[in-house]
């Protein structure tokens, strides 16, 4: 592969990686605060994608604009799931309850989509779907570029919220030690609901950003749940910075794999990397995390 | 009499903190060794090291003359080491009997045998009546007894007791002290962490005092109680609080 080709591959990988990072951040934050792995995380992404699709088809609403209704919708859906289904089983003696519960939620979400929309893949075409931009002899896809920019913006905002606001402090305190946080007056119940809502919303937003670039079908959620897992394990469960680096790494690895011709195995690369990291450095390559 | 437990230059570092720093002592077979010190002195870390839950940064541990440094808890159990936990940890959904059976299985492979042995241990500790109750339904005093029962079920030669009388009323405390004497009489070596002076004075042949991870005194209970360094360590820690 020529140097330009390599740079091209890496650049596309970085752009996709940005979106992977966003998906991963939602999952890792939920784990950090609630110690729950949300097995339905990708399904929220699928819901977001379909919402954007419907808004586009029926109202002609540009996907990037549909972020405006989708983000709050994500917050609502996430909060509802957390309040109604997760909070009651939180202290269950059965440690598997949250795993099974989120698996169930995922099944319900993906199959509702299946029943409503059918199994055939859908896609949208906007004026900029196939537009590209040239940068130092590298060609970059405009939708991916915009997604990356918006992701960076979103992540930056999240970072500010986590570090500068009272709410952010409350979240970090709860993540470190729930009991201590309670003693300091933090309403951990609210924090848990809010964090899950934010995580779900981020996932849905990622779905919206991906719509111009991908086909959507009901089971796409499962694929992204796996990608989110890979990203968070690479980066360290609970670490936001880790998820960012993990997402970028995954994007680049997949892009290189596809570039070198192993397209069928592309998804397998990430999964194998994931299993290797579990073997060698389960606390993640970048962040620190308790296993 | 041999040396049941020999600890040499034992150290454990966490980041920059020397939780246990170069500790040496011996526990003679069949004796009761007390381990005391102000809060944060490293007693629990030392217990965790000797019972295999932590591996030492430096130093060695020998059990009845055999090197056991770095062995995991289950391997140590097989060699005759057993412990209680400061915050009692019964298996909540299992019955009292089943709790003890888990330990009994170490030396009795068949379920029926293990059950018989477990029942014997429970009887010895006065818990036979509650055998079929779920462990979570016991009173604190009974739970502390169950904790000791579980530790005895594996038929240890070295028993590590971590604050087994804290939270008990005077009569319960006396009963427990009698119980420990009985265990010692059956030939088990005991190392006991305790804050309550009465227990230390009443039970221990020798006492080791820790402060900030280091051994600052060793001797018989009266010797140690009169040691000025020991007194200032305890008083000093009050000032810091």
């Amino acid at each position: 592969m020529s140097f330009v080709g390599l740079a091209q591959t890496v650049a596309s990988g970085v752009l996709t990686g940005g979106v992977y990072a966003m998906v991963g951040i939602g999952l890792t934050v939920v784990f950090g605060v609630m110690r729950i792995v949300n097995f339905a995380h990708g399904e929220f992404l699928a819901v977001g994608m379909y919402l954007a699709f419907v808004l586009f088809r029926s109202l002609g609403l540009d996907p990037y604009l549909s972020l405006l209704p989708v983000l709050p919708a994500g917050l609502l859906l996430g909060a509802a799931v957390e309040r109604i289904l997760l909070a009651p089983i939180k202290d269950s003696a059965e440690q598997h309850a949250p795993i099974l519960m989120t698996v169930g939620v995922g099944l319900i979400l993906s199959n509702t989509l299946l029943l409503v929309f059918g199994a055939h893949p859908e896609t949208i075409y906007t004026s900029y779907s196939t537009r590209t931009v040239h940068l130092f002899s590298i060609t970059l896809s405009v939708p991916l570029l915009v997604s990356f920019a918006l992701t960076a913006l979103g992540v930056g905002l999240l970072y500010l919220v986590l570090t500068r606001t009272d709410f952010g402090r409350a979240v970090r305190a709860t993540a470190q030690n729930r009991d201590a946080a309670e003693l300091q007056g933090v309403d951990t119940r609210f924090v848990r609901t809010a964090v899950f809502a934010i995580g779900s919303s981020l996932s849905m937003a990622a779905g919206v950003l991906l719509l111009p670039a991908l086909y959507v079908f009901p089971t796409i959620g499962g694929i992204f749940t796996l990608k989110a897992f890979v990203v968070t394990v690479l980066g360290g469960m609970g670490s936001v910075m880790g998820a960012i680096w993990g997402g970028l790494l995954l994007g680049v690895v997949e892009s290189l794999a596809a570039g070198l011709g192993a397209t069928g195995y592309r998804d397998a690369f990430g999964l194998i990397a994931f299993l290797i990291v579990l073997l060698v450095r389960p606390q993640g390559l970048f962040g620190t995390s308790r296993v | 009499m041999g040396i049941a437990l020999a600890v040499r230059s034992l150290s454990k570092d966490f980041g920059g903190v020397h939780a246990v720093d170069g500790v040496d002592f011996d526990a003679e077979e069949g004796s009761v060794l007390g381990l005391i010190g102000p809060n944060g002195a490293g007693k629990t870390t030392l217990f965790n090291l000797v019972s295999g839950y932590l591996s030492p940064t430096r130093g060695r541990i020998a059990l009845f003359g055999k090197e056991v440094t770095g062995l995991r808890p289950f391997a140590l159990a097989r060699l005759g080491v057993s412990r209680t936990f400061q915050v009692v940890r019964p298996f909540p959904r299992l019955s009292v009997l089943e709790n003890v059976m888990v330990g009994a299985f170490l030396h009795h492979k068949a379920a029926a045998e293990a059950e018989r042995h477990a029942l014997a241990v429970l009887t010895r500790l006065g818990l036979a009546r509650q055998a079929d109750m779920p462990a979570s339904a016991l009173t604190l005093a009974a739970r502390k007894k169950l904790e000791i029962a579980k530790a005895l079920a594996v038929q240890p030669r070295l028993l590590l007791l971590d604050e087994v009388v804290a939270g008990l009323n005077p009569s319960e405390m006396t009963a427990t002290i009698e119980l420990i004497r009985g265990i010692r009489q059956s030939g088990v070596t005991i190392v006991i962490v305790e804050h309550i002076l009465k227990v230390i004075l009443g039970l221990c042949d020798r006492v080791v005092v820790l402060d900030h991870g280091r051994k600052i005194a060793e001797g018989t209970a009266p010797e140690v109680a009169a040691n000025p360094e020991v007194i200032s360590a305890y008083l000093g820690s009050d000032d810091d609080a």
Binding site: F274 | F91, R116
Partner: protein, 327 residues
């Protein structure tokens, strides 16, 4: 004699004999529904073997189809590529399943439970991708056919009744394994690990060894089930052999019936597949959707499954006061 172990143990053994006898009679009573019967028995066996790992060792596998698919592929490839007949191919396939379990478990059991569940999805997916892409060996998306097998001990392997009884043999093995675990030291150790792993170590329990042992048993049985599945289908491809649906169904059967019990998974299989058969029109496309709802409801309101509820009900009855207190 022993109060806790033996009495429940003897009752369970009698129960197993009863269940097996009932299933053995099935083909004579419902001769026309052999396909359904086979699925029922096979899934009961698979769910029971899943539960050895999930209910007993406490590790939730969401990708158990990895073993099923492996069984189908390995046994078929051994015949088509190396001429090794089914009777030898099946045990060899089981060995491969156990090997996978040993490596996989050794890596993931040191970590928190959720990591294992995550890895299970990944492993199943990697195997599916492998089967799909390694065309020279696995035939890729075209799949494989298991044809022209010679008779085994004189029995025609393609006779549905023979396949049914082979599945029943597997179910017997699974139930007996589960029973043996439940009434033995292994069962106690596994329960202790689930209750409080650290505390159990002080009592001589080696958690890694116990979990690996349970995993190997589960893998062996599930892989054997996969071989039978491949035989039954006679033709399969990656999507079907490594199917997420299958993984989910096994989980569901175990939790509906009751995890960590001898009969729970079988009961769950009966309920699930029975409803699917009886309400076929309702199920159709909606199976997974219904499964999702059932999982959510059970986890929320009846985490011990049907058997757990039953036990709770029984305990309220005055004559139940002498039942053992363990769940």
């Amino acid at each position: 004699m022993s109060r806790v172990a033996t009495r429940e143990g003897r009752r369970a053994l009698a129960g197993i004999a009863l269940v097996l006898a009932a299933f053995a009679a099935f083909p004579w009573v419902f001769g026309g529904k052999l396909n359904f019967g086979f699925s029922l028995v096979l899934f009961a066996a698979l769910a029971t073997s899943w539960d050895l790992l999930g209910g007993w060792a406490g590790q939730l596998s969401l990708g158990h189809t990895a073993f099923v698919g492996m069984g189908a592929y390995v046994s078929t490839l051994l015949w088509t590529r190396a001429g090794i007949p089914f009777g030898v191919g099946l045990p060899l396939a089981m060995l491969s399943g156990v090997a996978l379990a040993l490596v996989w478990g050794a890596i993931t059991f040191r970590l928190r439970g959720a990591y294992f569940s995550l890895s299970s999805i990944a492993v199943a997916e990697v195997l599916r991708i492998l089967a799909n892409n390694w065309v020279s060996v696995t035939g890729g998306p075209e799949g494989l056919s298991l044809n022209d097998l010679p008779p085994l001990f004189g029995f025609d392997l393609y006779d549905r009744r023979v396949e049914y009884y082979l599945a029943l043999l597997l179910l017997a093995a699974a139930l007996l394994t589960s029973w043996r675990v439940s009434s033995s030291r292994a069962g106690f150790y596994l329960e202790a690990i689930r209750e409080d792993q650290d505390s159990s170590m002080a009592m001589g329990v080696n958690p890694l060894k116990m979990k690996l042992a349970a995993f190997c048993l589960s893998a062996a049985l599930s892989t054997a089930g996969g071989c039978l599945y491949g035989l039954f289908l006679a033709y399969f491809e990656p999507q079907g052999a490594f199917s997420l649906d299958l993984s989910v169904q096994l989980v569901l059967m175990a939790i509906v019936g009751g995890m960590g019990t001898v009969f729970g998974p079988t009961l769950g299989a009966l309920v699930l597949l029975g409803s699917q058969e009886a309400f076929r029109s309702t199920f159709q496309q909606r199976s997974l959707f219904i499964y999702g709802i059932v999982i959510v409801i059970i986890v929320r309101y009846a985490p011990d499954g049907l058997l757990g509820r039953l036990r709770l009900l029984l305990r309220r009855a005055p004559w139940a006061s002498r039942l053992p207190s363990a769940p």
